[in-house]
Symmetry: C2
Subunit: 568 residues, 2 copies
Amino acid sequence: MRNVQQKLSVARGEQPADLFFQNANLVNVLSGEIHLTGVAVDDGRVIGLGDYEAAKVIDLQGAYLAPSLIDGHFHVESSMLTAPEFARAVVPHGTGAVVIDPHEYANVLGLDGIRYVLESSKNLPVDFFIMVPSCVPATPFETAGAQLTADDLRRMMADERIAGVAELMNYPGVYLGAESELAKIAAGKGKIIDGHAPGLRGKNLNAYVLAGVRSDHESTEREEAREKLRLGLHLLLREGSTERNLTSLIPLISPHNAANCSFATDDKLASDLVSEGHIDHAVRKSIQHGLLPMTALQIATINTARHYRLRNYGAIAPRFWADFIAFDDLKNFTVRQTYKKGILVAENGKYLARQPAPVPLPRSTMNLRYQPGDLEVPALGGGKIRVIEIVPNQIVTREIIETPKVADGRMVADLDRDILKLAVLERHRATGNVGVGFVRGFKLKRGALGSTVAHDAHNVIVVGTNDADMIRAIQELERLQGGQVAVADGEVKAELGLPVAGLVSDQPLGEVIQRIASLNAAAHEMGCDLESPFMALSFLSLSPIPELKLTDQGLIDAVHLQRTSLFA
Amino acid sequence: MRNVQQKLSVARGEQPADLFFQNANLVNVLSGEIHLTGVAVDDGRVIGLGDYEAAKVIDLQGAYLAPSLIDGHFHVESSMLTAPEFARAVVPHGTGAVVIDPHEYANVLGLDGIRYVLESSKNLPVDFFIMVPSCVPATPFETAGAQLTADDLRRMMADERIAGVAELMNYPGVYLGAESELAKIAAGKGKIIDGHAPGLRGKNLNAYVLAGVRSDHESTEREEAREKLRLGLHLLLREGSTERNLTSLIPLISPHNAANCSFATDDKLASDLVSEGHIDHAVRKSIQHGLLPMTALQIATINTARHYRLRNYGAIAPRFWADFIAFDDLKNFTVRQTYKKGILVAENGKYLARQPAPVPLPRSTMNLRYQPGDLEVPALGGGKIRVIEIVPNQIVTREIIETPKVADGRMVADLDRDILKLAVLERHRATGNVGVGFVRGFKLKRGALGSTVAHDAHNVIVVGTNDADMIRAIQELERLQGGQVAVADGEVKAELGLPVAGLVSDQPLGEVIQRIASLNAAAHEMGCDLESPFMALSFLSLSPIPELKLTDQGLIDAVHLQRTSLFA
């Protein structure tokens, strides 16, 4: 590595640079122009625009050269990929940096989960910046693997890759001034405080902002987003696998407010990242919906870098990292080449970087205690019961009241009425907690589906037509040290091991995508017609979201945030 | 002062706010819109937009309400006003904050000068943020009152009103990697490093940026400014008393790059601040020259606040200081009312704030040692001499070669050829240094002009037709403890005392303007036809600027930066 004197000498043109990108149509997000120039790179940074001598010359032949793209808010666990395999998925799409909230890791592993992400995401062609999760556990109605206090948050802030405090989902706690939430905001002093306030408007939104929150990614309606922009919240325009808000929000964006906007995915599946793209998809879609290409590319680069204070990211000028994308068409924006610190790391969809040696997996997180009989529900009295009803493709559920089917003195699944048994087993500290309930919407005709991905505490969740297959699924999840399985007639039909915290696979991208497809196929073969059966399953324990959820502590009335009884 | 809980309660509307500004046409520089709303203020900050109850309601009747204006780069000494009297001049023009470089104070008083500015600018209706001067002394060819090292700079950085390191005028030192200059940049780590690089372009400009500089205010040509923008320098669009670059630079600015622009005055006289205006003048002129009002107002507010990391300045939204301006017309932008932390501090040109109790003046800075005979120049040999020629309204001078007029064996002024005697006397540490030379351009027919404002070391500078009046002027400057005087026939014709470091008056704004006018009138009456005789005088010792200058160390060849002889 050269010292400052040497770098300045290279910039002055007195000795050759490492690399020279010539004939670039530079998308200059600083001057707001596209202009033909050369770009000299040395020691991984841009050292000058203009004409330079260099050890290696790359002729761009008039192609556009823009800064690599940045995702302003992402939960990397939603891809079920380790950081290096996530890089494999997104680098060909031009991603150079991501601001992540390792909320799921933290719910399972606490600070160890955050440290694992920091460690496993080093030296990749995507730089990871981390917001420290602010809501672990999400509610007192589920048993998570860890709890993060304001002191824990403060302890993490010194690391330069920590960009601030992650989404403050307990937004009533914030605007009502709960000491715990204000302490978390204070812990992030000098860094960025991310928000999460779906539907919050008016005076309570004013209070939420006044408390110190600086961003929001939950606006689905344009007028809600407009109000948030007006109040000074940085607007993360979300386009993920399920939540897709771009079409609604783009008409709001102008060059006069784009500085306060970023693109974000929040949650996106590995298969969608590969086939549809990442932030490049948001840029493409925004341009198609009328945004000026310069505006879209500023949002995707410098505006996000500035908001999160990623000081040398998001532009092509002296001092900035040489994170570039090359492409041929502003309208049908498709990344042809991705460079990281000047090195070609993807070309024409192909990932060219060498994967680093894997870091040790975090400790085992499968710590279950249960008896087969734990899934049984005695049919006491003859009353009706509360049943969770799935709303396809949404994280909300409905509460319906049904008469249970009874066999041998026990409540059982009723395939005719699509009422299946659902169980959540605590897996972090062997409490023996088991919650059992019933759910409508899966339409399984046989077998069981099980998963250790179950928001937000990520206990074991199993849905099934019979206890034997449910137990078999749980046993297989234990054997895998976390994962997702489809079991029928005592036999594992498909499975994906998720040994990293029970959330993430240790396998390569292609293998993960293929196994997820096999799992979905198996579920469909067993009668389920949901598009994403395991995603639907994972949201059934998300206790902060209405109406009825099941956690290891039993049924939760998520409207009034209190425990409730199976018996209606 | 309310605690956080109480403030949130006010924001939620549960108790009345201090103030409510109703029926505002809010210039929302965050959302890039103008929209009708109310603004609630409590404890000096905005706590919400919308409808609120308040102890006091201010009906704006549809007037525009915008954030107060910010000057991105100003030397307050150029106004010759103390901070409170500067506030009196600019607050009626809508200024709410200034980023100043107390370069002149520092040259005279060192860190004490910076501390004096910090202290004397507290609790004013204009907030002062300070860049610590980086070039004290400017060159080794003049004797300043102090020297600031990188360690001195580092020592100041912790204060939250210190925004960074002031303009790095030794730009060759920076791009050539001089250790002293790199150390000053390093001292500003985490804060902003201001630049000053007139005419610098190409590879050396790349190196200047790479070294860590973040802004420039010296572009006079559009293409120079464009290049600086492209390289990531924040562009300070300068419009001062003498340097006026707006007309040239405005065509460069668009909503796609305005985030990287600020308005700045650099140097502006008290009389110009009062009559023409301050940043409001830049906004008005920019709009007249085609800038969109929203763009101009963003440049004048949030863009500058963000660049200098003035976290709660430059916008009207929860958490921001309630620094507002009200006005009626976007095209002929004229500030009607100025509010500081919600309090009306100026209306229709009238300053309404109470001036704070004056802080103690810094120590005396007049420490001269001289003999009347020091001004005499023996006529050795019969050779020609170097004479400084003034270029009206510019800080550059020319070197001309003339035959001196001799009387009684001494060189003397020659009124017919407009060759007057010029002397610079060191005044900081009684070294007894006296530089004597000759100057063309003042056209005085009698008397002498003297000043303790003489860039950058601010020694005593005197020009005159005869030694007796020059000595009388020096004596009067000593009596005043610094100032500016016009003397003729042994009599003081006009004077302005500048007891604050010999740079700034302790008198009110109106008195200062009137005395400056009297000084100019006296000079004109004595035959001078320069528009600003004392400003011209003050630049004759500015040793870094070509071609020929006079300091206490004698004549300086400012092209080759070396001492030179009177004898050609």
